[in-house]
C-alpha cells in the first residue's frame, strides 16, 4: 500500500528526492522554498539513503556544485526561487552546454527584482527560452499539485538522463507552500541504469579521458555541437505532456499551467455548469511545449484564453501554436497576486464576448 502524507509542496519535493534515490542536493535558502533544504536536513538523508545535502554559500555556488556533481553521473538537484534562479543563469547555460543531467526547481515568486515572496508564474520565458546566454533549452515540467511536486522529481530525472539535459520544475509559491494529500513515491534504489560512459570517474587505462566542458574554441565544432543540441531538443517532442479537461467538444479553450490550471479547472466546472462548452488544456511539459495539440484545437475552437500569473508569457507560445487561426487572448494577474476563479470568469466574459 502506498504511503499517504499531508505535506507541503516543498516538502514533497524533498521527500520524493530522498525516496527516489537522488544522490545530492545543493541549495541556498530563499522564500518560498526554504522548506526543501530544511526538510532534507531534518530527515538526515545521509543516514536514510546516503544522499548528500549541502547548504551552499550562494545560489551561484549551489548551481556550480550541481554542475560539478552532475558530472559524476549521479542524480543531483538544487531548488531556489526567482532571484536565486536568475543568479544561476550562467551555470545553467554551462550545464546545458556540457549536456549534464540534473534537476533545478524554481518555486517562482513575484518579480522583477526583489519583488514579493508571493506566488507568480512570471519566470516562464526564463525557464523555456533560456534565461542564460546561447541557444539551449531546459526540459521544463509544471506541476499543478503537491502530488505532482512529489511525482515530477523522478520524472524529471528520467527525462534529464534520457536526454542528458538539465530539467527544471517550474512551480510557484502557491504549490510550494500548500499542503495536500500525497501518495509518497515508492522508495527506489539510489542507482541509475543510464549510460555512464561519459562520466568523470578517474581515467582508467582502457579508455580516453572523460571531459565535461561546454567550450569549443573552434566555431565549426561549436556549430556542430549546437546542431546536436537542436536535434536533441527536437527529439524531446516525443515526451511532450499535457492534460485535457473537456476539450473534446469545447467551443472555447483555456490554456493554463501549474497553479493557474488548478484555478482554471474550477472555472471550467462553473462555466460547464452554466451549459457553455469551455475546455482547458494544461501543458505539463512547458518545454517541449504541446504545440501540436493546441494547434489542433485551434482548428476547432472559436477562441483561446491563456491564463497565467504573469503579464503574458506563455501566451506567445499559444499564439505561435494557433498561428493566427483563432484569436488568442491573455489574462493574468502578476506581482505575487493570485487570480481567483471569479477573476478568470470575468476575463472570459470580457474576451469571449457573446461566448458565455
Amino acid at each position: 500500500m502506498k504511503e499517504i502524507a499531508l505535506i507541503k509542496g516543498n516538502e514533497a519535493i524533498a521527500e520524493a528526492a530522498i525516496r527516489t534515490g537522488v544522490d545530492a542536493y545543493f541549495g541556498y535558502p530563499i522564500t518560498p522554498q526554504s522548506e526543501v533544504l530544511e526538510y532534507l536536513q531534518l530527515q538526515k538523508p545521509e543516514e536514510r539513503t546516503g544522499m548528500v545535502v549541502l547548504q551552499a554559500e550562494s545560489e551561484l555556488a549551489a548551481i556550480n556544485m550541481v554542475y560539478g556533481a552532475a558530472g559524476t553521473g549521479k542524480k543531483v538537484m538544487t531548488t531556489s526561487s526567482s532571484p536565486g534562479i536568475s543568479l544561476m543563469q550562467e551555470g545553467i547555460s554551462y550545464i546545458a552546454g556540457a549536456e549534464l543531467p540534473c534537476l533545478i526547481v524554481n518555486v517562482v515568486r513575484g518579480g522583477p527584482g526583489l519583488g514579493t515572496i508571493q506566488p507568480s508564474q512570471a519566470d516562464y520565458f526564463q525557464a523555456t527560452k533560456g534565461g542564460g546566454h546561447g541557444d539551449y533549452r531546459l526540459i521544463v515540467l509544471a506541476p499543478a499539485s503537491v502530488q505532482e511536486m512529489a511525482d515530477f522529481v523522478d520524472l524529471a530525472f528520467e527525462l534529464a538522463f534520457k536526454y542528458r539535459n538539465p530539467a527544471l520544475i517550474l512551480s510557484d509559491g502557491l504549490i510550494g507552500q500548500m499542503m495536500e494529500k500525497v501518495e509518497l513515491p515508492e522508495p527506489k534504489e539510489r542507482f541509475t541504469t543510464f549510460d555512464q560512459s561519459w562520466v568523470i570517474t578517474g581515467k582508467t587505462a582502457d579508455r580516453e579521458r572523460n571531459i565535461i566542458t561546454s567550450l569549443n574554441l573552434d566555431p565549426e565544432l561549436q556549430y556542430e555541437h549546437n546542431i546536436k543540441l537542436q536535434q536533441k531538443y527536437e527529439r524531446m517532442k516525443e515526451d511532450v505532456m499535457f492534460e485535457s479537461f473537456q476539450t473534446d467538444d469545447a467551443d472555447f479553450l483555456l490554456v493554463a499551467y501549474g497553479s493557474s490550471a488548478r484555478i482554471c479547472q474550477k472555472v471550467v466546472d462553473v462555466v460547464r455548469g452554466r451549459g457553455k462548452k469551455l475546455g482547458l488544456l494544461r501543458p505539463i511539459t512547458l518545454f517541449p511545449f504541446p504545440t501540436e495539440v493546441i494547434s489542433e484545437l485551434s482548428r476547432r475552437v472559436k477562441g483561446i484564453l491563456s491564463v497565467e500569473m504573469s503579464t503574458g508569457q506563455m501566451v506567445e507560445d499559444v499564439r505561435l501554436a494557433a498561428n493566427g487561426r483563432v484569436p488568442v487572448y491573455h489574462y493574468g494577474t502578476f506581482g505575487g497576486k493570485i487570480h481567483s476563479p471569479e477573476d478568470v470568469l470575468n476575463a472570459i466574459e470580457e474576451k469571449f464576448i457573446g461566448g458565455f
Partner: protein, 276 residues
C-alpha cells in the same frame, strides 16, 4: 687539468653512447597527453601541469584523479593533463570541485585556477570552499594579470604595474592594493596545508613539486583543504621575454608574494599578518 679530463671523456663517450634508455634520468611524464600546449613560449602553466601529473604518476592515482580547469589561459588544461576533467565557469572551480568531491569522497579532486579566476570573480567560492575544509587541492597560478583575455589587471597585479586596463600602472588609490588571498585562506580553519611556490628555476621547481605532493597527501588523508599558490610569469601580458619576465618576477613579485610554506599540518608557520 679538470678540463682536460673532461675533454678526454668526451672523446670516448659519444652522444650515442649516453643517449640510451638505460641512461635515462628524466623524461616528461607520460601523464601529459602530448598535445602541444596552447601556452605562450616560456609560460609557467606548462611546467605546473607537468609537475601535477608527475605527482599523480608517482602516487599512481591517475584512475582516481579528477581535475577542474578554470576559465583563464588554463581553460584547456584538460587537453594536456591525462586525467578526467571538468571545465568550470569563471571563478567557480572550488564549487564545482566541492560538488565532485562530495559525491566521490574517495577520489582525488583538484582545481587549477588563475588569479583572476580565484581571487576576483571567484573570491566567495574560494573562501567558502577553504572554510568548509573541502578535501580537495587548489592549485593557484598567480601571474599578476588576466592572461587569457589580453593582460588586464588582476586582483594580484602589483602597485604601479602596467596592464592593459592599467596602462599607466595600477593606481592603488583607485583600484586598491594587490590582494594576498593565500594569506587569507591560510587563516581559515578548513585549510590544512597552504604554500607559495614558483617554478622558474630548477631549484624552485623541485620545491614546488614537493608542495604538490604534500597537497595530494593531505587529500589522501582527508585532513582538509590543501592550497598551493604558484607565482608565475605571464610574459605575454607583461610584454617581456620569458627570461626577462622571470627576472622581473624575482625582483618584484617575490618581495610582495614571498615563497615558502604558510601553513603546515593545520598550523600557520609564517606571520601572515606582517606579510599583508
Amino acid at each position: 687539468m679538470k678540463k682536460n679530463l673532461s675533454e678526454d671523456f668526451s672523446m670516448e663517450d659519444s652522444l650515442e653512447q649516453i643517449i640510451q634508455e638505460k641512461n635515462l634520468v628524466y623524461r616528461p611524464t607520460r601523464l601529459m597527453t602530448g598535445a602541444t600546449l596552447s601556452y605562450c613560449p616560456g609560460c609557467g602553466h606548462g611546467t605546473i601541469h607537468r609537475l601535477i601529473m608527475e605527482v599523480v604518476e608517482e602516487m599512481g592515482i591517475q584512475a582516481e584523479t579528477i581535475g577542474v580547469s578554470p576559465v583563464g589561459c588554463a581553460v584547456l588544461a584538460y587537453d594536456f593533463m591525462d586525467v578526467d576533467f571538468t571545465e568550470a565557469a569563471h571563478g567557480r572551480a572550488p564549487a564545482v570541485a566541492t560538488g565532485i568531491k562530495r559525491l566521490w569522497p574517495d577520489k582525488y579532486v583538484f582545481t587549477y585556477q588563475g588569479d583572476g579566476d580565484l581571487a576576483a570573480i571567484g573570491t566567495a567560492e574560494t573562501i567558502h570552499a577553504c572554510n568548509r575544509g573541502e578535501q580537495i587541492c587548489i592549485f593557484f597560478v598567480n601571474n599578476g594579470i588576466y592572461g587569457m583575455t589580453g593582460g588586464q589587471m588582476a586582483p594580484t597585479t602589483l602597485e604601479g604595474m602596467v596592464s592593459s586596463t592599467t596602462p599607466y600602472g595600477r593606481n592603488v588609490e583607485q583600484m586598491g592594493p594587490p590582494l594576498k588571498i593565500t594569506e587569507l585562506v591560510a587563516q581559515l580553519a578548513g585549510t590544512y596545508y597552504v604554500s607559495r611556490q614558483s617554478i622558474h628555476k630548477a631549484a624552485t621547481v623541485r620545491k614546488a613539486k614537493k608542495a604538490i605532493r604534500k597537497a595530494f597527501e593531505v587529500q589522501k588523508e582527508k585532513k582538509g583543504m590543501a592550497f598551493v599558490e604558484f607565482v608565475s610569469n605571464c610574459n605575454s601580458g607583461w610584454k617581456m621575454t620569458p627570461n626577462e619576465a622571470n627576472q622581473w618576477m624575482e625582483d618584484h613579485m617575490f618581495p610582495f608574494y614571498p615563497l615558502g610554506d604558510i601553513k603546515v599540518d593545520g598550523k600557520l608557520v609564517k606571520n601572515v599578518i606582517q606579510d599583508l
